[in-house]
């Protein structure tokens, strides 16, 4: 509110549905190309990802133009050079995401013999990667980068939510500057969280295979609960340590971001 900025507002629909859209569009196109036109797998996945990236570009454009136009009374300008500079970058990221998800889904259907079809697997992986990106990544780029002007650990007050950092090290800050920051910590952390989720959830049933008996199946559940417990305790210790080191812990200002 009343803080005109040059940050790209990519309000498609929240991360999980938007990534699921990417992956499902790419998966459907690739599976059509493979089954109806018998194209090679790599080519089909590449073309599917290309279609998904193009569709993602249209969604990014309508989101930015729509949000900015709807804030006319706050004197928020629509920067057409931002559309030109940001949308191709986001389409590139969308291409990489879709391509990787489709490769994973294709390997699951063809090599691992998963019973689900490619499109459905890609959809599920899209939701998963979007949810993990949203929950892990947002904390490390949204809160840290866009609200550098508030005290560490103070949480995000709803009245403060429009007061983002608008000036960069040099000139006005834009969305690509934020991505540059995220690529250092938020991106790797999101990747680690995604990899750990996939690995640990598969690991417990690989070590304690439920098909080898009911007792071993129960052991896999116990192992899963133990992992969750260890992670909760570890995270709690880490959070308390970080707040003691870097900032005050203000309980009354804890508003979820």
């Amino acid at each position: 509110m009343m803080y005109p900025h040059r940050i790209f507002n990519k309000a498609i629909s929240g991360e999980p549905p938007s990534n699921a859209l990417l992956a499902a569009v790419g998966g459907a196109s690739a599976s059509v190309l493979m089954s109806a036109y018998s194209m090679s797998v790599v080519f089909a996945i590449a073309v599917g990802a290309l279609i998904a990236a193009g569709i993602h570009g249209t969604y990014c454009t309508t989101a930015y133009l729509g949000r900015s136009a709807s804030q006319k009374r706050f004197r928020q300008p629509i920067y057409l050079d931002m559309v030109r500079s940001h949308v191709p970058v986001m389409m590139g990221f969308a291409y990489i995401t879709t391509f990787c998800i489709l490769v994973v889904s294709y390997l699951m259907t063809s090599v691992l013999g998963h019973p689900f079809p490619l499109t459905l697997l890609a959809f599920i992986w899209g939701i998963t990667v979007g949810a993990i990106g949203s929950s892990t990544g947002d904390v490390h780029y949204g809160a840290e980068r866009e609200f550098q002007n508030v005290e560490f650990g103070s949480g995000l007050n709803a009245a403060n939510s429009g007061n983002i950092v608008r000036k960069a090290e040099c000139g006005l800050r834009n969305g690509i500057d934020n991505s540059w920051f995220c690529a250092k910590f938020g991106g790797p952390v999101t990747g680690l969280a995604f990899g750990m989720t996939v690995f640990l959830s598969g690991w417990i049933t690989t070590i304690f295979d439920p098909s080898m008996g009911a007792n071993i199946g129960w052991l896999s559940i116990v192992a899963g609960l133990a992992i969750i417990l260890i992670l909760i305790l570890w995270n709690r210790r880490l959070e308390v340590f970080a707040r003691n080191q870097y900032g005050p812990y203000k309980e009354d200002e804890e508003v979820t971001a």
Binding site: M1, A11, I12, S13, G14, P17, S18, A20, L21, A24, V25, G27, A28, S29, S31, V32, L33, M34, S35, A36, Y37, S38, I51, I55, T58, Y59, T62, A63, G66, R67, A69, S70, Q71, K72, R73, F74, T109, F116, P117, L118, T119, L120, L121, A122, F123, I124, S161, G162
Partner: protein, 278 residues
């Protein structure tokens, strides 16, 4: 005035009743027209089903706009997903028992589910949004018509046996779910703000509905359901990809095409990819 809407009823240049008529009547008429045109004139006309889906998507986006204007900021994506969730349940139920009346049965079922969910949200959860019941009913109906319309565009029919094998078992229902769901929720989410206008939101809905239609067109390449015309004609309205198979279809005879269709179906049931030679 909050960022999540004006906290009251939305200003409307086009009254909601006209949009209800546009979505419900337009959607159902287009779905039935598509079905009969495919039967009598050829599979190329299945695209009319997607036009019906666009009508339903515009109606759904208008209903989301109306209810979300009461201040559902981050609830807008959820309400769109809810629409398609109700829609999938109602579609499968309606098409399974309805036969030729399938779309109507699915539509009515969806409206009943939506009414119950809206009443639950208002009476039990106590959201206190005056138009909640009506809007949830509308959103559920719009989601169902979008699913049935896109399925009809993909396969050329809404008969449950075909939908089950060609849309649900092949996983394309996931594509329909997300493409139509985002087309319903994205317009208001993208235009959220105090200066949101109905015409801008609805034209975004038209555009996103058209993207859903393009995706239905791509998937329809895969559907050898009505081998009445050669492949080159059936993919005429979409013309997405020219392919080697189109050329081979043109040179082959009609019988070869029929054999390929049955062979492709068998191979797909065995979960194999690749061409099949007769």
């Amino acid at each position: 005035m909050s960022a999540g809407g004006s906290g009251g009823g939305a200003a409307e240049a086009i009254p909601q009743n006209k949009l209800i008529a546009f979505g419900a009547a337009g959607g159902l008429i287009a779905i039935y027209l598509s079905y009969f045109m495919v039967q009598f004139a050829g599979p190329a006309f299945s695209f009319i089903g997607a036009l019906g889906a666009i009508c339903a998507i515009v109606w759904g986006a208008a209903a989301v706009r109306r209810v979300a204007n009461y201040g559902l900021g981050t609830g807008v994506p959820s309400i769109g997903m809810l629409a398609l969730g109700m829609g999938v349940v109602a579609t499968i139920f309606g098409l399974a028992i309805g036969g030729i009346a399938g779309p109507v049965v699915a539509f009515v079922t969806a409206m009943v589910i939506g009414l119950v969910i809206g009443a639950l949200a208002n009476r039990i959860i106590g959201m206190g949004i005056p138009i909640m019941e009506q809007s949830m009913t509308e959103i559920a109906g719009a989601g169902t018509l979008a699913i049935v319309g896109l399925s009809t565009a993909m396969t050329g029919t809404f008969m449950f046996d075909v939908i089950l094998t060609e849309v649900i078992a092949t996983g394309y229902i996931a594509l329909i779910f997300i493409v139509a769901g985002i087309a319903i929720l994205h317009p208001f989410n993208a235009n959220l703000g105090p200066d949101e206008k109905q015409d801008r939101t609805l034209s975004t809905a038209f555009e996103k509905g058209a993207i859903a239609m393009v995706m239905a067109g791509i998937v329809s390449q895969f559907q050898p359901v009505h081998p009445l015309l050669p492949q080159s004609l059936s993919d005429w309205p979409y013309g997405m990809f020219l392919s080697a198979s189109t050329a081979s279809m043109l040179s082959g005879t009609h019988m070869m095409w029929l054999e390929q269709v049955s062979c492709q179906r068998k191979r797909r049931n065995r979960n194999e990819h690749g061409t099949c030679c007769p």
